[in-house]
Symmetry: C3
Subunit: 350 residues, 3 copies
């Protein structure tokens, strides 16, 4: 009975949201569109969380988390490619920054806090934590070095450096997948703790994961559309909207899935979603966008603004300090959220 | 017999120092005042160390250390409020910087070195060490973010950011107390290793702790008074005097108690005094001063000078690197002191 | 038979390389000199690796590694003293930077990667790793503080700060030797895992270590000579040649020995060579050069360029993040090399 109620709510809110998007005013006012989209994103994100959990049941927490992060970022990558095509590099970089810190601080912070309110201490693979920390540091270095050297470089030199660094990062990320999914898979996995049964069969879980991701991607775009109207009305800066509002909504999939898993004591999967997703954006999505921009004739470089550098650096340091011991508790969630709020206020005031 | 000798020395030097302070020249020359104050501070700090140790015997090493740090900082807070009232924000920030690095590097360094010369290796709770490191990082972030954004902010924006960050830090600190003293108290405590008996009964220990703290506060102020005369005579800069001389003397309580405890192999309490005190200043005393300054009509912001940022950042990184494994030895004390000396010389030369 | 072949190759290539160096053009063209030198350096470095391993067999992995690093750096110190005498401070600092990051990233990276391709996981003393990380941080602090304060200092003040910091670093390094070789020797050593026999007797090993080091020093200088001609031909910047090409060739001894030991699962000795050598340069060789420069009448300061600061800081952070857990695998080697390549490209483009 409960299952049917959810399915009906999911489909009804999704269809209604699509109608609002395509029909628009005057039948659906901007405010109405926004609230319908919010309701729908809650349902589709819930669906995705369920699908991820079911896949994780069969494939292990880490691989399920990886799939969730990858599907979530695929949507972001597609949206970003359209922005790159239009040469809106600043918006792309702001949203990359927002995604990275949103996942590292907000998604991880909420998961750790809400998981920690239920369980006194939650544990995940300590070796994975160490590798995550080193990869975060690589991501910080990769955007810090071009920015440090940019002042004395000519524009083409900066572009060259960005392209070469991008290629290196993509290779490093693919080697990381080889390492963590193949050669050292067992060393980095959590102890298997299985509770109960999966919601669906193996095949159905994967199919649902695809469908749910697609729905989240579409729904996110619709919500982002309503957000822009909103932010213009309230006079918010593009940097704040790009780095915070869009990132929060655009990562709805990661949010819901990670928190749900943390509440079920599967913090390993939650960490994989939150930090794994950040790393994928920094080490794969961002460099791919640089290379894609070359195809469009005008190359995006890797030079971020000082504010973005500070935000990413600060997020990486606190997330790595907190996760390095492979165990979490509610106060560590508070710390992550506190840093997110401080950054949010600073960006809001810029 | 020995006990009576100490009590007589304590009272005599304290009374003499008070007389020197109020009567002053020509009966007591500046040099004489200075040496009497130094003698008296050694006695009252010794008394405070004994009282802290006795309270720690009953309440546990961590809570005893927390009490010591809190009482020590209460005195500093009161002095700083008077400076804030007079609008001397630069002096306040210099003395906050001095207190933080003095505790993290000098107090901790001396405790670890002198404890390490007696015991080959000293251990304390490794989880507490990890949390301390994360909190130190939060403190660094909290003063680093406003400074990074200040250049493109208007003055009121900087003030707004400082006030909001201050409120957030105070909430975070109170949640830390809730976490470390209530919900996860046992996870963060040291193994109980009791040697011998306490000097006094439980009630008397607490009373003596109050009295000793009050005496240290008063005596510190007297000594600071004589120091100012001294520093003018020798042409030392306000920054150096504020960040080093006043901080060293003003933290006499922490020094003597922490070293005494380290020599008794209670390094956990010593760490709590040194790092706990730094954290309390950064996450509680400093934000409270920002809020208090609002009441006086002119709001102090959280923007520290580059030198102060460098000093606090460097101190936090080395202290966290050394303490993260929950064990200490004499060489780690040397490292902390080396960094303190390097910073001291740099500030002296500014 | 195999042994004789090696000895003949070693002597022949060394003598030929010397002949090429002293006779020069037109009999030996620049290209020919370069290739002969390269061949010879492979042989002498192989000889040094063998001698180090044999000494390590008797004296323990760490002490063997320390000897290798010390002899390797002795040669660099001597070359640098001549540069200091000529007042070529920028070249000296570039080569110090190059040595530090070359050892921390390239030597360590190759050892960890090639060792990790043979063994799934390699372990070394975790306490030593923690101390190494703290010492690296001290090295970063020691060059970061003078650079931060230099902008508001007069030139003599910067020089004074550099000299005092240098004296402090040398004392700290000597205390580190006392700590790690005397008072806490056993706590920092690896578990003894002996395979097979040493190549030579104890006495002969030490004698060969001396001879091999001398040959490497001489051969390195010859190769550096040919490199300079080369780099002028191809228009490479002095910074890039000093910090990368000379450092790579000049550290041939460390390279070959460390990789050979890592392939024999003696990663502890490899780490000691790579990180121990970096630390010796930063905390001993560099400060000694500052003091030596005083004798020549014109004092070198410790203010490095921003690029050099970035390179050393980045190298120290990633090396410390990777080595802190006392275990290594092939992917961590990849990470170190990736950072080295990124820095190399940035310096090449400057």
């Amino acid at each position: 009975m409960k299952r049917y109620g959810f399915t009906i709510g999911l489909l009804a809110s999704f269809i209604l949201s699509g109608a609002a998007h395509y029909i628009g005013a005057p039948l659906f006012s901007a405010t109405m569109q926004f609230f319908i989209s919010c309701l729908a994103i809650i349902f589709v994100a819930g669906f995705l969380g369920k699908a991820t959990e079911s896949v994780a049941h069969y494939a292990g927490e880490r691989f399920g988390g990886f799939l969730n992060a990858t599907f979530g970022n695929a949507a972001e990558l597609i949206i970003a490619i359209f922005l790159v095509k239009d040469g809106l590099f600043d918006v792309v970089k702001a949203s990359i920054t927002g995604s990275i810190i949103g996942n590292m601080l907000l998604v991880l912070g909420l998961s750790v806090l809400l998981g920690g309110l239920k369980y006194k201490e939650q544990h995940f693979n300590v070796k994975l934590a160490g590798h995550n920390a080193s990869l975060m540091l690589l991501a910080v270095i990769a955007i810090f070095v071009p920015a440090s050297f940019a002042s004395s470089f000519t524009k083409p030199e900066t572009t060259n450096l960005s392209v070469i660094v991008s290629v290196i990062l993509i290779i490093a990320y693919l080697l990381w997948l080889l390492f963590s999914m193949v050669t050292h898979k067992n060393e980095l996995s959590d102890e298997v703790v299985e509770h109960g049964e999966a919601a669906w069969s193996k095949g159905l879980s994967v199919v649902y994961l695809f469908i749910a991701t697609a729905m989240v991607a579409v729904q996110s775009e619709w919500l982002v559309g309503t957000l822009e109207t909103f932010s213009h009305q309230y006079g918010l800066s593009e940097l704040f909207v790009g780095a915070f509002l869009i990132a929060i909504v655009g990562n709805a999939a990661e949010h819901s899935a990670a928190i749900m898993l943390a509440r079920k004591n599967k913090i390993g999967a939650a960490v994989e979603i939150a930090i794994g997703s950040s790393l994928q954006i920094a080490l794969f999505v961002c460099p791919v966008l640089v290379l894609v921009s070359m195809l469009f004739g005008q190359t995006m470089n890797l030079v971020f603004t000082t504010y973005e550098l500070v935000a990413i650096g600060v997020a990486a340091f606190i997330a790595s300090s907190i996760s390095r011991d492979g165990s979490t508790n509610w106060f560590e969630g508070v710390l992550l959220l506190v840093v997110y709020i401080i950054l949010g206020i600073a960006f809001f005031l810029v």
